[in-house]
Symmetry: D2
Subunit: 301 residues, 4 copies
């Protein structure tokens, strides 16, 4: 269970004291504030704060376009236009701050998105909790035989049981020893900043993570993608569900142009145009490598 | 006058419709929202939105320090500790979005602060207003004779009058010609993206500018400083006045450690220690260059 | 003429003293070093320094992929794979430093690319030269009637002559007055940081600009594009020509996937699939707005 | 031993084939290129490439200051002036690319410096080596009793032996199980992206890390500081030793103004001035908290 009764009580308290503001308010996002959306076995995503809404994107863009702009007839049209033409700055005018609890190996992927602000729980200063990510059996997959960085079939039978047993036992042993090394009962007690090195990378950490909507969309495009590792993808999906409620128009444009869209190379455009003209084109006369062709036919047949 | 009656009416309307939120609210900042604080002759600074308050800084830092931290006894003590030790990430957890109207030559200095989001009014798309910065007589200063990038005494008499007259006349002429080139009366009309090049750099532009509190403090330290050009310093001072109301504890720490503080080199530390021990030290036996020494005695005599 | 005889002599001197290095060397780029490629009437682009080559991209990617990776069979294949899958970090491992002379209104667009390092010639500290951008007659275009931020037909006859005459005369007048205000002959002389505000935005400035290859590609995609304003596009094209010689494999991948590629929305994919299946699809049953449809048929007919 | 004979042979080969370049060359840095400087028990730092030297800092600054600037009489004076006045952009004009092998828990601290480019060896794609950081006995310290994020006395006797034995055994066990789970002998074999979660945070990873000199100085100031954790400080010190050879003038200024300097608050300035005037000042009449005062007297007595 990700949260203690005390923590749940604190969240309830925070949610029972609305205050007045003159700022832009997103009703959809207010419903998410502070609540912990569970992810994996012990993780969560919580919205701590947000700035702006769909109208704020339009408002910022109007400054950059100036008064009297009537070319794009309404907010949705303008937001779709901005998304289509990669005008990123208006989306940067919305900001969100999340509290996330996540395994360390997921945190290591996540942090590669540099345009964000982070405060992580310090294992130099504090003692980490005994919480480890242990995959569901359905997620216990074999190494892919076609993709060096992917998963294949789900492990079965005795092998699956062995893996789960190993992960649980090694985590427990490591944590027992972590506590023993830290202990000051009858000994000096190892420094926290050293003891932590004995912990495996499926231990949970937590952080405050703040970013703007443009960079969040970029994060979601890469991490909610089917090629992302499952364990980060579920976080991206949980965040995406809150963004949909926060800025529904921008999110719909993002789904149409980014998540549901594809990028075609000059070579791919040529192949499609030849096909549209009735020609049959195969890999050998496409100018593409086998890898590119395989990805091309995944979309176009 | 920076704002039209219509614009003032829009601001009044925005200020009369408070809404409920569960987010952190800064009463001091709510009082500033949307209001235009005049700067220079036609410019202004307006707070459009903000995220967080003093408590949000502490809250973010507590995550990075973990539960049970009682070492720093209260919020003010923790905020001062964070500022003193250059722990910047908790301050990054607060964000502010401003609408600023400013001369182009000021905008060109301002934009050098890269960690910020900007939407500027587009002179490719729209026609700029006939508004130019003309300095107050008290700001019409001669080139400094001791500092290549500074101002000396205020210009006097006929010279001051000539300069003001020149600035006004050239701005008016340039703008008249800008309009003439754009005009589609009896001619094709030059493209806006070309016509704008005839305008002088004291014309006003405007933008939405969004940044976090850490980077804003950095901006204020450099631009509210006495060495900054007057025309950007007055913007920094207007912003500083709103930040003081937004996050009073953090701002007080910023004033003590940054605005009111100094950095001493290893050489300067040695000189001060020798002086504290009763020794008289001059430039020649300080190890400092003449320039460094001049800056040193400005503070220490 | 962008460079004085003295400056040309300095460049020649720099080019006649090769030194030995153990670093990666790009012969194609060495040929460009220090030389000024003219752009517009007084501008230029010069390569001051560079880091890395095509092999350096592969080398960096191999670290992130680990030893023994033979899946992608050669450098070109790997570079194309990285570009296709938006793996940006290996491209970030190459860096370039340029010296650029450009009109201020172009500099204002350019600087919006924030992930770069800049040192600009200071008009607070120094006196700007009397050099202004005056468009070629072929570039003197009317405001577009279909695109609020674009150009239409070239101006003709008397109107073109009037515009050129106006731009030249206002620039000359402004600069004469700039010099008069600065002059210390028989007067105090206005501070440089103030006098510069009288100068129009077609005056030339110059800066050192340094960025990595990934961000440079992003700059080129937006600024070498046909929708970019001509006056910045010619700079992007001059830079692109040097990048082609610097990292020819990466540049070819960039041309195929970025410059020559298109992004299709989910709606556009559906329309193309229906067309490939033999169906005739028009705007009204495409789900696209008129604007989107117009852009779609520009590529696909 | 950090490098295999094959890797050492590759480095020797790279070092025996100098090429000609017209770029700025730092002889001091050429001596470091590609060589692995050992850090900790299995780690290293290697310079892969660099851009610029001391003269390049001056050259960039001269553009921003303009021709004819004679106020700062020489390169060293100018570099010291730039450092003293926080003019960071000229230092950003130098760039360095390092190959670093380091424990994961160190990598997690390191990556918080966001203004850098990183390519890390991928444990999704590849299998990590069996190499773990095990501290020297002299580094096996107890938790500090005065500083929640620091180290106290060195562990002694049986406790020290127990800790070392635990760290070694748990690392070995975790890695054995990692290999067993990955194995495809008689079983499917767990996906690499999952198996890695069983590994402890003292396992070594490696990356290419590229940053500019300004941001590198910031990294060194925080990480070569006595308050930094020992395991990252030794990396910072190894890097600092190469930077000293690369840009000796800039490094000397950095040492004087940053590493050897201190920042005084407004309150601290007042106390020092009172002391210089002969007054005895204690904590209670200093206006400082006990924590601030303790840090103050550490420097000033």
């Amino acid at each position: 269970m990700p949260l203690t009764p005390d923590q749940l009580a604190e969240i309830d308290a925070a949610r029972t004291t609305p205050r007045q503001t003159l700022r832009a308010v997103s009703e959809g996002m207010e419903a998410h504030l502070y609540r912990a959306h569970p992810v994996l076995d012990h993780g969560f995503v919580r919205v701590i704060d947000y700035m702006g809404d769909d109208a704020a994107i339009v408002q910022a863009a109007r400054v950059s376009y100036g008064a009297g702009t009537k070319h794009v007839s309404n907010d949705e049209g303008l937001i779709r236009y901005l998304m289509r033409h990669w005008h990123s700055t208006p989306f940067e005018m919305c900001e969100v701050k999340l509290h996330v609890k996540l395994p360390v190996f997921v945190a290591r992927q996540w942090i590669r998105h540099r345009t964000a602000n982070v405060n992580e729980y310090s294992a130099r200063y504090s003692i980490l909790d005994r919480e480890f990510y242990i995959p569901e059996p359905a997620q216990l997959a074999a190494q892919s035989t076609v993709n060096n960085q992917g998963r294949g079939a789900v492990l079965e039978g005795a092998e699956a049981a062995r893996v789960l047993e190993t992960l649980k036992r090694d985590a427990a042993t490591s944590y027992d020893h972590y506590e023993e090394m830290l202990s000051q009962e009858g000994q000096q007690g190892l420094a926290r900043e050293l003891a932590r090195m004995n912990l495996p990378m499926n231990i949970y950490t937590q952080w405050y993570w703040k970013t703007d909507l443009h960079n969040l969309f970029h994060f979601l495009r890469l991490r909610a993608d089917t090629h992302a590792q499952y364990e980060i993808r579920v976080y991206a999906e949980a965040i995406a569900a809150t963004v949909r409620d926060w800025v529904p128009i921008a999110f719909a444009a993002f789904e149409d142009y980014r998540m549901g869209g594809v990028t075609l190379s000059a070579k791919a455009i040529t192949v499609l145009k030849r096909r549209l003209a009735g020609e049959a084109v195969g890999q050998e006369d496409s100018g593409m490598s086998k890898g590119e062709w395989r990805e091309f036919v995944e979309v176009w047949g």
